[in-house]
C-alpha cells in the first residue's frame, strides 16, 4: 500500500469515466456507512447505560431475594423440597422479538406468565406471608434478569456490527478511495502524455512537409529558369525530359 498503489487499467477515456463513476460510488458508500456506524454507536452507548443501571439495581434485588428466602425458611421451614417437587410446566415463558436498528437485527426477550400460580397454597399452614413475599421478590428479580439478558445480547450484536462497519468505513476511506484516485490520476496523466505525443508528431510531420515543399519550389524554379531559354511554351515531353520531378500533394 502506498501512494503509488493503483488499479491496472488501460488508460483510455472510457476507463477514465468508469473510474470516475466508481470513485463517486465509493464516496457515497463511505458516507452512508459512516452514518450507519454513527447510528449503531449511539444505540450502543444507550444500551451500555441501560446495562449499567440494570446491574446496579440487580445487585440489591438479588440480595433482597436471598434475604427473603432466608426469612421464608425461618417462618415456613424448609420449603425448598415442596417447591422443587411441585415444579411441573414453566410458569414464566420468554418470547423472542427482533428489533431492527440501522439494518442490524437485535433480539429482544419479553417474558410473560402462563397458567395459574402453582404455589398459591404453599405455606398455607405456616409462614405463608413470607413465602408470598419471597415469590414476589423473586419474580421481580426474574423480570430484571430477562431484561438484562436482552440488553446484553443486543450489546454483543451491536459490538460486532460496529466493528464490521468501522472496518468497512476505514477500508473505503484509506484503501479504496486513494486507490481509485491514484488510478484516475494515472489515467489522466497517460492521456495527457498521449495527447502531447500526438501533438508533437503532428507538428513534426507538418515541419517535414513544409521542408519538402520548400525544396520542390526551389527545384521547380531552377528547372523553369533553364527551360525558359529553350522552348518555354512547348509542353513538357515525357520522352524527352530526363528529370521528372514527382508531383507533390
Amino acid at each position: 500500500m502506498g501512494s503509488g498503489d493503483k488499479i491496472n487499467v488501460f488508460p483510455s477515456r472510457m476507463n477514465l469515466t468508469a473510474m470516475k463513476t466508481r470513485l463517486k460510488g465509493a464516496q457515497k458508500g463511505h458516507s452512508l456507512l459512516k452514518k450507519k456506524s454513527d447510528a449503531l454507536t449511539l444505540k450502543f452507548r444507550a444500551t451500555l447505560k441501560k446495562i449499567i443501571d440494570n446491574k446496579t439495581v440487580m445487585g440489591n434485588v438479588m440480595k433482597a431475594v436471598y434475604f427473603s428466602l432466608a426469612e421464608a425458611a425461618y417462618s415456613a421451614g424448609d420449603i425448598s423440597q415442596t417447591v422443587i417437587q411441585n415444579a411441573d410446566k414453566a410458569q414464566n415463558k420468554i418470547k423472542f422479538t427482533k428489533d431492527n436498528v440501522a439494518g442490524v437485527q437485535l433480539t429482544n426477550f419479553t417474558m410473560h406468565s402462563e397458567g395459574g400460580d402453582v404455589y398459591q397454597l404453599t405455606g398455607l399452614g405456616r409462614g405463608g406471608t413470607t413465602v408470598t413475599k419471597c415469590k414476589e421478590t423473586a419474580q421481580k428479580a426474574l423480570n430484571l434478569l430477562v431484561e438484562l439478558a436482552s440488553l446484553q445480547t443486543s450489546f454483543i450484536t451491536l459490538d460486532e456490527a460496529i466493528k464490521v462497519t468501522n472496518r468497512r468505513v476505514n477500508g473505503i476511506e484509506y484503501v479504496i478511495i486513494p486507490r481509485l484516485e491514484n488510478t484516475i490520476a494515472y489515467v489522466i496523466e497517460e492521456l495527457d502524455e498521449r495527447d502531447r505525443e500526438e501533438f508533437y508528431r503532428l507538428k513534426k510531420v507538418q515541419d517535414k512537409k513544409k521542408e519538402m515543399k520548400a525544396k520542390k519550389e526551389k527545384l521547380l524554379e531552377e528547372l523553369a529558369g533553364r527551360e525558359a531559354i529553350k522552348n518555354a511554351d512547348a509542353p513538357m515531353n515525357i520522352l524527352e525530359t530526363e528529370h521528372d520531378p514527382d508531383i507533390m500533394f
Partner: protein, 350 residues
Amino acid sequence: RVAITAGNIDNGYFEGLVRGFRSGILRRTDYHNLVECETIDDLKLHLQGTDYGPLLANDPAPIIVQTIDERLKERLVHEFTHIRNQCFQPLALFLDYMTYGYMIDNIILLITGTLRNRPIAELLPRCHPLGQFEELSTISIAQTPAELFNCVMVDTPLAPFFSECVSDENDLDEMNIEILRNKLYKAYLEDFYSFCEKLGGVTAEVMCPILAFEADRRAITITINSFRTDLLKDDIENLFPKCGRLYPEGLKFLKNAEDKDEVRRILERYGNYGHLFAGVGDGPNDKTLEDRFFEEEVKLCMLAFEQQFHFGVFYAFVKLKEQENRNIVWIAECIAQKNKAKIESYIPIF
C-alpha cells in the same frame, strides 16, 4: 393417671436427660456473642464454647449456612431417637405422636414427587428423619393418592387421619396437595389433643394449652394466608382444627373474615389472643404475626418445664430446640449475606 413416684420409675431417667439437654440451650449472652460475629468462622468459634461444642468441628472451611442447618437438625434427631429408643409406654406412644407431624410432611413430599414421576431414590433422602416409618419407601408403588391410601397408608399410624379427611377415596386424587397436608395435620392435632386429655394428670394440664394454642395458631395463619388465594370459605373451615380455644364461635367468624383487621377484632373478642397483635405491623421495625406466634410458643414451652413428672417436657424440649435451630440459622444467614438489619429478629429463649 401417672402418680409421682410411679412415673419416676419409668420415665425419670428420660426426664432428667431432657432437662439436661434443656440447660444446654443458649442463653441471651450466647446469642449476643453470636450476633456480634462478622463471619461464619467466628460463629463456629463461639458455638464451640457453648453446649454445642464440636458440632461443626468436622466440616471443612468455608462453612455454608446449609451445613449448620444440617448439623443442628442431626443433633436434635440424635437426641430424640436416643430417648425414643429406650423409653417405655406410654411415653413411647407420646413421642410417636410427636413424630406424626413430620411423617405427614414426608408423605406429602413423596406423593408430590411420585405424581411428577420423580424417582423414589431421589426423594427419600429429603424426608425429615424424625418422620421415618417402615412403609415410607413403598410409597413409590402407588400411582395415585387413592392407591396410596389403600396399599400403603392403611397399615401406618396415619391411617385414621386419612380416613377422617376423605370420605371417598376418589376425593384424594382431586384434592390439592397442600389442602391434603393441612387436613391431615388438623386430624393429627385433634387426635393428639384427645390422647393427651386421656393421659390426664399434669401431662394434660401442660399439653392441652400448648396444643390448643397450636390449633388456634393454625386457624389464624390459614385464614390470613387464604386472603390471597381462591379457596372457598367452606374449604377453609374444614382445615381449622377443633381443639383450640377459638372453637366453635371464633372459628365461624374467622372463616368469614375478609382482611387482617377483621381477624384482629375477632381475636380480641374470642380466645384472649388480642395481646398477640401488640407490636405487629408491616413496617421494617415491626414484628410479624408469625414472630409473635413463635414467641408465644416459646413462652408456653418454657412453662412446661416448671412442672415435673409429665410428658410435656419432651414436647417442649423438641419445640424449643427447633426454635433455637431456627435462631442460629437465621443469625448465620444474616452474617453470611452481610445483612444485619434484622439480625435481632430471633426469639430469645432464656
